[in-house]
Symmetry: C2
Subunit: 350 residues, 2 copies
Amino acid sequence: MRHLTADYLREVGTEIFRACGASPDEANVVASELVETSLMGIDSHGVIRIPQYVDEALAGLVRPGAASRVEKDTPTTAIVDCGWNFGIVSAYRLVDVAWGKAREHTTACVLGTNCHHVGRLGAYVQRLAERGMIAIATVNGSKLYHCVTPWGGREGRLATNPLAYGIPTSTQPIILDMSTSMVAEGKVRALLHQGEKVPSGCIQDAEGNPTTDPKDFYGPPMGTILPFGSQLGYKGFALSVLVEVLGRTLAGLSIAEEGKEYKLVNGLCLIAVNPDAFCGLETFKRLVDELSAYITSASPAPGYSKVRMPGSLDFETRAERLETGIPVPDKTWSLILEAAEKVGASIISL
Amino acid sequence: MRHLTADYLREVGTEIFRACGASPDEANVVASELVETSLMGIDSHGVIRIPQYVDEALAGLVRPGAASRVEKDTPTTAIVDCGWNFGIVSAYRLVDVAWGKAREHTTACVLGTNCHHVGRLGAYVQRLAERGMIAIATVNGSKLYHCVTPWGGREGRLATNPLAYGIPTSTQPIILDMSTSMVAEGKVRALLHQGEKVPSGCIQDAEGNPTTDPKDFYGPPMGTILPFGSQLGYKGFALSVLVEVLGRTLAGLSIAEEGKEYKLVNGLCLIAVNPDAFCGLETFKRLVDELSAYITSASPAPGYSKVRMPGSLDFETRAERLETGIPVPDKTWSLILEAAEKVGASIISL
């Protein structure tokens, strides 16, 4: 484990993505977002993804520099064909489109097609909130990732389908970024490697029986992950269906024909609402601050030190890691160096 | 327990609300919606509410016939001052406003202020979905109902804050209508009266300790209800915060000043997205049907007979109850007759 500064990791990432064929600007966008995610403590979606994105670029699954095209454009809606550029570049493009529409016309709903992995979904609602919008975002996945059962089922029909929102305040936004499943597949894999159990109520074996053994999940035959909500999991299932509809169906993409015309890794949908059309942004921020103060004034329950607003812990982690550096496991670091070598990026290894 | 037809209960309800001072049309809207809710099996929000609404009208908390006024109007947004008419009348007004805007301008976000109890939230996303819109709805409650803790807290800071969505299909819409808490307060009260326990993980005593005894919840001192999600309850908490912000803050209402200027029982927010701006409504419905077929093709897990789409069970109950009648407990029926008498409504008791 080494601790590396955000600046250094950003330079490394930018260099690597440039060597993949991205423009300096776009390479910087991808690297900066991954570093930002690591800073916030969400290591599963941070710099650990550099080698994955490099491999996918080399395999032609990501097309660095590809242009995006706004289709089906109305004053408040659009479908953006992302052209298989890096998903993070595409998602930032969607943020710009949604923001422009909501600024002019007070609401917006924007979808991306041909969109690669967008990374941390919370990033995009955060950017919109920082630019004064209430934002809701959803992202689904292709059938390949359908390891989550519908409620009462024993076969996967949905991905972990996260949803996120961002709300402007006078300081950092309130952010939720949640999967609609009980656990991420990557988490189950990590527990398998560590020889540990999965918390009960998260996974099923291939027969649909509850289990805590990650081996039962990986099979073969493969097991499944349960929708979020434990005994109320029909709620998580239903939220997941909405994510799937906004990410795929609304764009006109058929689930039955996914194999024939592969247009989806991540189906991203952004909805933006402009507080200026209601109470006005400044009043809104002040009233949200007041609400946060009211909520966090609740005494903590036994075992908790204080009540926090959604997302605030991530911003605290960010402040800490800006001081102490980002912890990068040796394995991750060697994979990043390997990725650099594959594309011929010249980076100075620390 | 008696079984009464929907037609009869609708006539009874309409007669009663007319006697409260509502116009024939508005009386019919309120009665029809309560009966519809009972038909769907959601008895907690159905005809059982007739006596409550009558008492509140008699106390001046509901103002039958009050006009609504569209304020802060833009092509895609509005705040509707509902004037304390019956919440169901107000919510239907919001549905009309949201639908008109989304039809013309493809997206809409509409809020209500001075809005009384709206009943079943799912009703309004259902109406929008039946009129071709993807709809999201949230409704919060005044401080009086703040019995739900934030994550890690032991004092109530939120109401049960439901959220709902509706998605058009070629037949009945897909509907989610979920509270963002583990259990409704009314459910805990019912269990108290029945001398039964609350399922574990739903409530806390006043000290924030887990309990299953409804007496610990009612105290005094009062306990609290936990946010939806069990060990992942920070997700339910965060969803609840969004509901609160959309229902109150966005309209410019201060939580700190709630006592001073009482403008809220239910803060309703409707967001509508028009599929015509994306793949087109007919294509959309066909692709949603296809998605539903794919999802429900999953084999059931042990203990389940089949996989269903969200909301489909309610429509099945509706079909059954149209045949068999709506079951009305004696106590509920006598309270309805009492309410009729209070306002001098002449109804023929069966």
